[in-house]
């Protein structure tokens, strides 16, 4: 390896830049090496290795934890694209374990049971990058202040219902537009209201975007869902249960990849949406007891 300069600022930059390379791509949840290969062949930009996809986590109930490192390694050996894995919110030792097995990205995720109901992980203490979920601008900027180098909407995982991802993406973007509209001397109060450092509010004020890449996640089940999130301003899409809970995972995965690339072309999305077989059986958020998006604010 070349001179690996690991001063924290440079490391943080490299980690944000990996997320930039994932833009316009689809990151797929996979539970086995076989699924990982299907995802890669279908054009996934990265895979998320986990033992159970969110829909099954919901069904099983109980405490849900980081996956077995052996299972994650099996997936790392199966594909050449980046491999991500989830740790529980606040569980910095699970994150240390994932860093030790050379994971490409850690998702500090509300899909798993939170390990800490107050503190998130100090992600600045890690060399490996983190992605975190957010429902609004305050959550997004707090995670970035803690060191997240990529943000995704929380949505409502494992439901196949895109409504929460839509509302989170709209809210984050509406709040960004609001911050842009403020006078410079109003940013201090805005930082107080959002409970975030003023420097990050200034960045949003100047650039009209988050300082890191922002993906959609949580409830994306169809090519049209994926294109909807892209048209709403997502820079890429996570698909969890939507693929391997559906009738024809390989075909649906390819179709979602195509829809993200051609998200402004309804003709192409129409063709991609034909004959996909059964979509995952959706559950409405009003029918479920556990709202994962309420975890980790």
């Amino acid at each position: 390896m070349a001179e690996t300069p690991q001063n924290p600022e440079e490391r943080a930059r490299l980690n944000r830049e990996l997320a930039q390379m994932l833009k316009g791509g689809v990151i797929m949840d996979v539970t086995t090496p076989e699924q990982a290969r299907i995802a890669e062949e279908a054009g996934a930009a990265a895979v998320m290795a986990l033992e159970r996809i969110p829909a099954d986590i919901r069904a099983a109930g109980g405490v849900s934890r980081m996956s077995d490192p052996k299972m994650i390694k099996g997936i790392q050996e199966a594909v050449s694209i980046p491999v991500m894995a989830k740790c529980r919110i606040g569980h910095f030792v699970e994150a240390q374990v994932l860093q030790a097995i050379d994971i490409d990205y850690i998702d500090e995720s509300e899909v798993l049971s939170p390990a800490d109901d107050v503190y998130h992980i100090d992600k600045t203490a890690f060399a490996v990058p983190f992605v975190c979920g957010a429902r609004n601008l305050g959550e997004a900027l707090r995670r970035i202040a803690e060191g997240a180098s990529m943000i995704r909407t929380k949505g409502e995982p494992g439901t196949g219902d895109v409504v929460q991802a839509v509302s989170h993406m709209r809210l984050i973007n509406a709040e960004i537009r609001h911050v842009q509209s403020l006078r410079a001397d109003e940013l201090f109060e805005e930082a107080k209201r959002l409970e975030v450092p003023v420097g990050l509010v200034r960045y949003v004020h100047q650039h009209g975007k988050l300082p890191v890449v922002n993906f959609a996640a949580g409830g994306v089940a169809t090519p049209a869902d994926a294109a909807l999130m892209m048209q709403l301003g997502a820079e890429g899409v996570f698909v969890g249960s939507g693929i391997f809970k559906s009738g024809n995972p390989a075909k649906r995965a390819r179709a979602i990849v195509g829809a993200v690339t051609n998200y402004r072309d309804p003709q192409v999305i129409a063709e991609l949406s034909e004959d996909l077989g059964e979509a995952m059986v959706g559950i409405n958020k009003d029918e479920i007891d556990l709202l994962m998006a309420e975890r980790g604010k």
């Binding site: 390896m1 830049e17 390379m21 316009g24 050996e77 690339t261």
Partner: protein, 196 residues
């Protein structure tokens, strides 16, 4: 005329900004229909080469672009873009199963080099450095899960090396870089590419 920036997946907006900074007009090349727009040079951005390669094929872009590049159209490929240009692609050796050829390339295959993918390992192996590139001194070089050029044919000039490995090459009007000039503020590479 304009530069077409392949916009199937990855960091294509960063290249568009870099080209705008040096006064070069560009547009996004997303499908075969976009080939009808006039362009006299091409940028292949960073991203995931397996994704871009697959979409190049499916969108019907692979053969038309290969023909134009073979006919001498200037092309700049960075990271995944270098992999797409390479005559042959080597894996990183970590993969235990044998993937099919559609996933491992070669794709465009006009640049006479063998490229090793993920040559520096996973994300923890990503790094930033600075080096000489042809006539240019102190060029910032950002390597993200980067490849390097394992071997190059006689018509290929090596423009830059890092730790003895070729990371920038040129063959005629084809320039392949293992790193990402679009991520740094230095615009000298885009400037000289726009003059090719």
């Amino acid at each position: 005329m304009a530069t077409a920036v392949l916009a199937l997946q990855g960091a294509f907006e960063e290249h568009e900004r870099a080209l705008a900074d040096v006064g070069e007009a560009s547009f996004e090349l997303r499908s075969a229909a976009d080939l009808a727009r006039p362009f006299d040079r091409l940028v292949l951005p960073g991203g995931e080469s397996t994704v871009q390669g697959k979409l190049l094929r499916e969108e019907g872009l692979l053969s038309p672009l290969r023909e134009r590049i073979a006919a001498g159209m200037p092309v700049l490929g960075t990271c995944a873009g270098l992999i797409l240009l390479a005559r042959a692609v080597e894996g990183d050796g970590s993969r235990k199963s044998a993937p099919d050829a559609a996933q491992t390339g070669p794709w465009i295959g006009t640049l006479d080099v063998v490229v090793k993918r993920n040559a520096y390992g996973r994300q923890l192996g990503s790094f930033h450095t600075e080096g000489q590139l042809g006539d240019l001194a102190h060029v910032p070089m950002t390597f993200i899960r980067a490849p390097f050029v394992a071997s190059a044919g006689p018509a290929v000039d090596v423009l830059a090396t890092v730790d003895g490995r070729a990371v920038a090459v040129r063959q005629g009007a084809q320039i392949g870089l293992a790193f990402h000039p679009e991520l740094d503020a230095d615009r000298r590479i885009h400037k000289s590419f726009a003059k090719l």
